[in-house]
């Protein structure tokens, strides 16, 4: 008998999906130092993440919950393992590409599902900064929100463009900007042209 094609996901994704680590099972009795909630369940995905941070600014615990698909579950599970023991400022810079690499790669059309975890982590770290009086460390507050539905900033669009998302479609997939109401399309394309120019890539790739 023909063996079925293996999962569209790697074994690592499958393992983290089958046995997700660090689920926040008892929200009521958990006292976190920072909490982030991103996405919108009405739009079809949402991620909530909480962290504990010690006096040295090291993340000692990370827990999460989601309304998300297999990619979101697996990538957030691996992210929650990875950040434990990291300094908050290092954890802040983890990108979706870092997580996808740890998972042994994700199918291209699933990358956008994995951005929820690191966005929720940054929101949780910002909340930690706010609670501990380190307002100046908050970065997302200074970035402009371009896509209101999915809370995507110009910073995030810039990073995605510089990493090769040179079409509107790719930007939608990588950042989720413009995937809900679509009102931000013109602004996103404007930024894409601006940043793509800086990346000195030929215009016709757009």
């Amino acid at each position: 008998m023909t063996k079925p094609v293996e999962w569209v996901y790697t074994d690592i994704v499958k393992d983290h999906f089958a046995n997700p680590r660090n689920i926040l099972s008892d929200e009521a009795s958990y006292t976190e130092d920072g909490k982030g909630l991103v996405g919108n369940v009405k739009c079809g995905d949402q991620m909530m993440m909480v962290i504990k941070v010690d006096k040295r600014g090291v993340i000692t615990d990370c827990r999460w919950k989601t309304f998300g698909c297999a990619s979101a579950i697996a990538s957030t599970s691996i992210l929650s393992e990875k950040v434990k023991g990291m300094k908050v400022e290092d954890a802040y810079n983890i990108s979706p590409e870092d997580i996808a690499a740890q998972l042994g790669g994700l199918p291209e059309h699933k990358i956008h599902c994995s951005v929820l975890g690191d966005k929720a982590l940054r929101a949780a770290i910002d909340d930690y900064y706010k609670r501990s009086g380190m307002i100046n460390n908050i970065k997302t507050g200074r970035a402009r929100v371009i896509c209101r539905c999915m809370d995507v900033t110009d910073e995030q669009i810039k990073n995605a463009v510089l990493k090769g998302a040179l079409t509107y479609q790719l930007l939608k997939e990588r950042t989720k900007a413009g995937t809900v109401c679509g009102k931000c399309k013109d602004r996103v394309i404007g930024l894409l042209e601006e940043y793509a120019g800086k990346n000195s890539k030929p215009k016709e790739v757009i």
């Binding site: 999906f17 089958a18 997700p20 689920i23 099972s25 909630l37 369940v41 009405k42 739009c43 079809g44 995905d45 949402q46 991620m47 909530m48 999460w64 919950k65 989601t66 309304f67 998300g68 698909c69 297999a70 990619s71 579950i73 199918p107 059309h109 699933k110 956008h112 599902c113 939608k172 997939e173 995937t179």
Partner: protein, 399 residues
């Protein structure tokens, strides 16, 4: 028993009926081109024409009114593309009419083709549905005018199973002089379908949804209806569809339909009972659920249900790990960024559409399968909801 497999995705496709396997197995030496005059060609031709007679009688059509095509999608593409073809080469007459009406919940092969002919300049009017997926007949009546060339409404929907009142719709269309097409891919072989009772001009159906082989479908075209071929360049199918006939597929389709004649009615009652068992279990044991589709006018084996706070792709893949095959309305499973347009057309929220699971039962589904599915489903829904950021368990003392 880890190897247990339960296939509840029969609206996607079905396994071959054992009788179809037998029929196909005897065919590998019938290879003549049915267009050839010699013995080998005549042998194939005779087998194809016998199959055509059996298949046409199943839907109460004449043999000449059946055109074999490669799939239900091809049948649907053929009809919609006819509308935009007013070339003198074909038999279709424009008669000053150029508008097409399709519902919002048609199969993608109709929706996408309707967008394409719209781009070519044909006006397309889109008929909405109510929360059960029924086309609003009052509004449809107002949409059909003396400009309408074709109305295309599916008989039964693939995702939610809702069955339309095709007889009333074809009466409306004919009263205004328009043609009526129905995509009956999910209906033929599951429900009694009689082209004269329905009064349709065109009807598409397929073999692989009813335990026949893949790659073979048929288009019924009423003998008086205008016709324009989609695939040109051959005299096969009386010049209506070029390409050497798929002899094995055609005979396999006839074998599948012969089985439907014997089994359809009894199987429909059996599937309705099994579906009710699954539905009752879900209703009695899982909170925060809603059933999608029409409560009565629904395919006997189709059950579409939304689980609050449980994302569909995650549910599908956890069930797959238990050997259970279903499908989902979630965007993530399809690779698109949007959830099912069919579920959104019912007025459902994106959250509920992302949480929708379709169970489609078939002739192999047993009571033991339903027992197994109910047991695993409960565990999977609990697991997904346990990690859900949008599901909060009801208090025990709540009503």
């Amino acid at each position: 028993m880890k190897d247990k497999k339960v296939y509840l995705d029969n609206n996607a496709t079905t396994p071959l009926h054992p009788e179809v396997k037998k029929a196909i197995n005897g065919l590998f030496d019938i290879y003549g081109n049915a267009s050839s005059l010699h013995f080998f060609g005549r042998q194939s031709k005779a087998a194809i024409e016998a199959a055509r007679a059996d298949i046409s009688s199943f839907i109460n059509a004449e043999p000449d009114e059946i055109i074999f095509v490669g799939s239900g999608s091809e049948a649907n593409n053929t009809v919609l593309n006819m509308v935009s073809c007013c070339s003198a080469l074909c038999g279709a007459k424009c008669s000053g009419r150029h508008e097409v009406i399709v519902s919002d919940i048609e199969h993608p092969c109709i929706i996408e083709t309707s967008k394409c002919i719209e781009q070519k300049g044909m006006p397309v009017v889109r008929a909405g549905v109510d929360r059960f997926g029924k086309v609003d007949l009052g509004r449809l009546k107002d949409m059909i005018t003396e400009k309408t060339m074709l109305v295309s409404i599916m008989t039964a929907n693939n995702e939610i199973g809702t069955i339309q009142d095709i007889r009333s719709i074809s009466d409306m269309a004919h009263r205004m002089g328009a043609l009526l097409h129905t995509d009956a891919v999910q209906a033929v072989g599951k429900l009694p379908v009689d082209v004269n009772e329905l009064g349709v001009d065109f009807l598409s159906f397929s073999a692989h949804k009813i335990y026949g082989p893949k790659g073979i479908g048929a288009l019924y075209a009423r003998s008086k209806a205008p016709f324009c071929p989609f695939i040109r360049g051959g005299h096969q199918e009386k010049g209506r569809r070029a390409g050497t006939e798929n002899t094995i597929g055609i005979i396999g389709m006839a074998a599948a339909i012969a089985c439907r004649k014997d089994e359809m009615a009894q199987e429909a009652r059996r599937l309705a009972r099994l579906k009710q068992r699954l539905k009752d279990f879900i209703q009695d044991n899982i909170d925060g659920v809603s059933f999608n589709g029409h409560p009565k006018d629904c395919l006997p084996g189709t059950l579409n249900v939304s689980f609050k706070g449980a994302e569909g792709e995650a549910v599908l893949l956890y069930l797959d790990m238990e050997g259970i095959a279903v499908s989902t309305g979630s965007a993530c499973a399809s690779g698109s960024l949007e959830p099912s347009y069919v579920l959104l057309a019912l007025g459902m929220s994106a959250e509920d559409a992302h949480g929708a699971i379709r169970f489609s039962l078939g002739r192999d589904t047993t009571d033991a399968d339903i027992d197994y599915v109910t047991e695993k489903l409960l565990l999977v829904i609990n697991k997904v909801r346990n990690m859900s950021s949008s599901y909060f368990k009801k208090q025990d003392n709540s009503i």
